[in-house]
């Protein structure tokens, strides 16, 4: 799509705002609508737009497939890891109250961490599935 100037310039202007909005949805999830899943898919959608306009090769330079797979697994690990830590601190699995002296603060830390895990996994999975679909070539007949 090298010759489509309007598309390239338009995408370049939109992408930073899409990514910023995803981060807003993530970190404002305690107060407004949204959370890790929404932020992850919005972030992935912005990244997919980049890949569509600037090519799969450029996208893979920004985010190599192996890094994306690591993201997908890391999020699940972070979520489950928070659960293991709460057990180690004497609580029950995923009871964040034991993460800090004040149970409410513990809940805040726990929610922040697990939402981060959801964001990372959802982003990784969405981009990896896009790579898997977009990377295939038509079989020669």
């Amino acid at each position: 799509m090298d010759d489509r100037v309007i598309l390239r310039v338009g995408a370049k202007m939109l992408i930073p705002f899409i990514l910023l909005f995803a981060l807003y949805v993530q970190f404002h999830g305690d107060y407004g609508p949204g959370g890790g899943f929404q932020a992850g898919v919005i972030f992935a959608a912005g990244f997919v737009l980049y890949a569509l306009v600037y090519g799969l090769g450029s996208a893979k330079q920004v985010m190599p497939p192996n890094a994306v797979y690591v993201c997908a697994a890391l999020g699940v690990l972070l979520f489950a890891g928070v659960g293991v830590v709460t057990v180690a601190l004497g609580g029950v699995f995923l009871d964040y109250s034991v993460l800090a002296h004040d149970p409410e603060h513990g809940q805040h830390y726990g929610i922040l961490l697990v939402e981060l895990g959801v964001l990372v996994t959802v982003f990784g999975v969405m981009v990896a599935i896009f790579y898997a679909f977009a990377g295939r070539r038509k079989v020669e007949e």
Binding site: V25, G29, D30, Y31, G32, P33, G34, G35, G36, F37, Q38, V41, I42, A44, A45, V48, L49, L52, Y69, A72, A73, G75, V76, F79, A80, G83, F93, L94, Y96, P103, E104, Q107, H108, G110, I111, V114, E115, G117, V118, T121, V122, G124, V125, M126, A128, I129, F130, A132, F133, A134, G135, R136, R137, K138, V139
Partner: protein, 202 residues
């Protein structure tokens, strides 16, 4: 005003759905499914489910449309002519749809605050969330804390979906299956001789 918006969106949804079914050009049909998702997102906003609307707009209208287009690039743009009579499938769909609508007749009124679903654990969440969890958005406190197990299961499901897609689509060495005269043999080594050692793996 809400009624007007609802009716407009639902009529447009119906028109889009019929157009998707009738279009033979798959590229057009994929674009229409994207529009369908965007209209659904609008409908979810009128239901005050803004976060679901985010997801519908990003996944339904955005990413899955792109995945469909990626598939179309591989399989071509024209739908093949149907070879079977559509009467039987139509009958099955009508009966299923009728049964589902009949099922909704027993349901409590939509949006009624006395519905059982609003009084199982919801009361506890609404009353206690503020000092048990301490964040203003009750939806987040339910999803991330009260129902943390469910959310962990969900992201595990999403991760599993990725594993499935990679197993099916990612390229790697392809095994070769061949019949060696007595049984089927799988070989990962492309150089292996079909008449070589038979007891490697079966």
């Amino acid at each position: 005003m809400d009624v007007v918006v609802d009716i407009t969106l639902l009529v447009l949804l119906g028109v889009t759905a019929i157009t998707v079914v009738r279009l033979r050009n798959l590229f057009g049909a994929v674009m229409m499914t994207g529009i369908y998702s965007l209209l659904s997102a609008g409908l979810l906003v009128t239901l005050d489910a803004v976060d679901v609307a985010f997801t519908e707009a990003a996944v339904g209208a955005g990413i899955s449309t792109v995945l469909f287009l990626g598939t179309l690039a591989l399989v071509g743009h024209e739908e093949a002519k149907p070879t079977r009579n559509p009467i039987l499938p139509l009958f099955v769909v009508m009966v299923t749809g009728g049964a589902l609508v009949y099922g909704t007749l027993d349901m409590p009124a939509f949006g009624d605050p006395d519905n059982p679903i609003h009084h199982h654990v919801a009361d506890h969440y609404i009353e206690e969330s503020d000092h048990e969890i301490g964040i203003p958005n009750i939806v987040t406190s339910i999803l991330a804390s009260y129902r943390g197990y469910d959310t962990m299961g969900e992201i595990t499901v999403i991760f599993t979906a990725l594993v499935g897609v990679l197993l099916l689509l990612a390229r790697g060495p392809k095994p070769r299956r061949f019949f060696d005269g007595t049984r089927w043999v799988t070989r990962w080594d492309p150089e292996s001789n079909p008449n070589g050692e038979e007891d490697a793996d079966g």
